[in-house]
Symmetry: C2
Subunit: 374 residues, 2 copies
């Protein structure tokens, strides 16, 4: 019988209890040290809560990127989205961090909407659907306030003409045996999926194609995407490009027990298109670190470490470290109970999303200003 | 030790003594029967020498294509070229046949220049080179007199924006295990090559995308390309398209002993860019069915069946059946010797190619009229 707690982390599946120290060792990445945080502060000023609280916890070559930057060599940012449905709050977390990097380093972001990938991977999705979701998801990105002059959204299917030559160069240098070892491809995997890692590599290098200037790329993304970049890093040098650097975040938990926030369990994640009623319902049904009865909880206190509501404050909805510590302490001592936290979180999420939804609708008028083909 | 006569026929390799009857059985295709030739005559009038002399000898669903045509349902033609170098006379043979079909059936041709395929397959070719050869090879196609209004050349890399969505639909329906079984892919095969059969399938269906009209496709090509169409035929039905039909030709032999005319042995094939001096040298060094001495040959006669010079008359340079029979008879009886045939062939090939080269240069001015994206 499979152990349901066994950790499985691939670009397409995350399950079990995730041990991040072990992931760093297994993936061969570097932890973000105090020293590196100090170096970041020189450029970023106050550290973003996602750095302070170690949501971003691991990297490859971030030190090198900073060293080059300090020598006057710019870098580009690259992240993306697999548009298999609407965006949820978990998706926004690294995007908000990416915007913070863009603002502070004043650098270009290439954002890839992988409508091709989601189509070849998801048995029940039509290409028409993934293209529609890509467009809808782009509205969420834009609503966060990315600067159009520095932001280039790539829609894979629409923009394949820009991507294909570099993808061919990459694909020629990746054998099936490498792809199978890294991505776990099987005999039943379709040939579109097998080729796709070559497309995922392209935004690391596209700045060079568009501008003629060879600069390194820094990829903020969840650590499950790391295998792609291992392969891309090998190929990059053969093609005369910089190896792409990464800064890895943890998985933002859903409102259910354990695991990564997953759109396949819609009751456990808050979509950006949810109504105030949806938000309230989902938060009130969230898995917390509470006790069976309020009486017991007043006496024993709650467990914020396993509480999904607390994670929402931690990663997005409580920027003030003192107030966060106060909430944590009050929970542990039973001074506040789950209903208190849920009420505050519902208010904050609702306020955030009502504003986001207004900006998201306005983005329909400006989305084309962000197209890489503009 | 490998048997050098052992027959190997794949889309990327043809060697050994080719047994065409066996290929029909192994590939599961149909022979072109007398009955089918009679049916073709109704539409084509006089049969082209390549049909009369069974250069085109096998098919899939050609009977169905004719049946639909007689019911008023048009079809499109599709063939292509892997641009790994300059075109030689062997390449022109099926193209000339394709033009004959286009003229007589008054139908569209989609012609695919697979600059992407040749790049991922040939270790030593750069993408820049295969793209240049694709353009140069297109001039040869146009020089043959194809009608621009009915001819659409697809340059894979340049036109990937038109091809990618259909390729994704195909690729999602082809597993690695199918691709490995059909194409012989191995662990060392790169992932670009593995995906590529999905791109090769697209021109079968692109007419439907461009016009909204679902019509079948007929592919005139050498039989080594058949494996592609077996896979495409399986997928076609799942996508709601007609299965592509094929009409298969034999391999046009080079001027060396045995095998298919191969650009990798440049001394054994006549390129369309060759000078009269090149042509003369190559034909005079050709492998023939002659005897060690002229004296012996006058006495014993020659063997046209194994003679590469005779094959040139057979497939391209002697349209008159009586004159061909006369040449064959005169050879067998020793009335003519190899020098006689070589002199006549040199004259005909030179005359043909000098004219072709003039038309080829003029095609530089009109090539864009043939672009599918025009």
């Amino acid at each position: 019988m499979p152990n349901e707690d066994e950790m499985v982390v691939t670009p397409w599946e995350v399950r079990g209890r995730v041990d991040y120290e072990k992931l760093i060792r297994e993936f061969g990445t570097q932890p973000i040290t105090e020293e590196l945080l100090e170096q970041l502060k020189k450029h970023l000023g106050e550290l973003h809560l996602q750095l302070r609280r170690r949501l971003f916890f691991s990297h490859r070559d971030l030190d090198l990127i900073l060293q080059l930057y300090e020598q006057g060599k710019k870098f580009t940012l690259y992240t993306g989205r697999g548009p298999s449905g609407h965006v949820h709050v978990g998706h926004l977390v690294p995007w908000i961090f990416t915007k913070y990097l863009q603002d502070n380093f004043d650098t270009r972001l290439y954002f890839q909407m992988t409508d091709d990938e989601k189509f070849v991977i998801e048995e029940n999705l039509e290409l028409r659907e993934t293209k529609e979701f890509a467009y809808e998801n782009a509205l969420d990105l834009i609503a966060l306030g990315f600067k159009p002059e520095n932001t280039f959204i790539i829609f894979d299917v629409q923009d394949i003409g820009l991507l294909y030559d570099i993808a061919l160069e990459v694909s020629k240098r990746v054998t099936f045996s490498t792809a199978r070892a890294v991505f776990g491809f099987q005999d039943s995997t379709n040939i579109g999926w097998i080729f796709w890692p070559a497309i995922q590599a392209v935004p690391c290098f596209i700045h060079s194609k568009l501008t003629g200037e060879n600069v390194p790329s820094l990829i903020p993304a969840a650590i499950d995407q790391d295998p792609y970049w291992r392969v891309t890093r090998d190929v990059a040098q053969k093609l005369g490009y910089f190896k792409p650097a990464q800064i890895h975040c943890r998985f933002v938990p859903g409102l259910g027990k354990g695991g990564k926030m997953s759109a396949s369990e819609p009751e456990t994640c808050i979509f950006t298109t949810d109504t105030p009623h949806d938000i309230k319902t989902k938060i009130w049904n969230a898995f917390t670190g509470g006790r069976p009865t309020v009486k017991e909880q007043r006496k024993l206190g709650g467990e914020p470490d396993i509480c999904t509501v607390y994670q929402y404050f931690l990663y997005l909805f409580e920027d003030n470290d003192d107030k966060l510590a106060e909430r944590q302490g009050d929970c542990r001592t039973g001074r506040i109970v789950c209903g208190d936290c849920k009420a505050v979180l519902t208010e904050r999420v609702t306020e955030f999303l009502l504003d986001h939804q207004r900006k998201r609708e306005r983005a329909r008028d400006t989305v084309e200003d962000f197209f890489i083909t503009r």
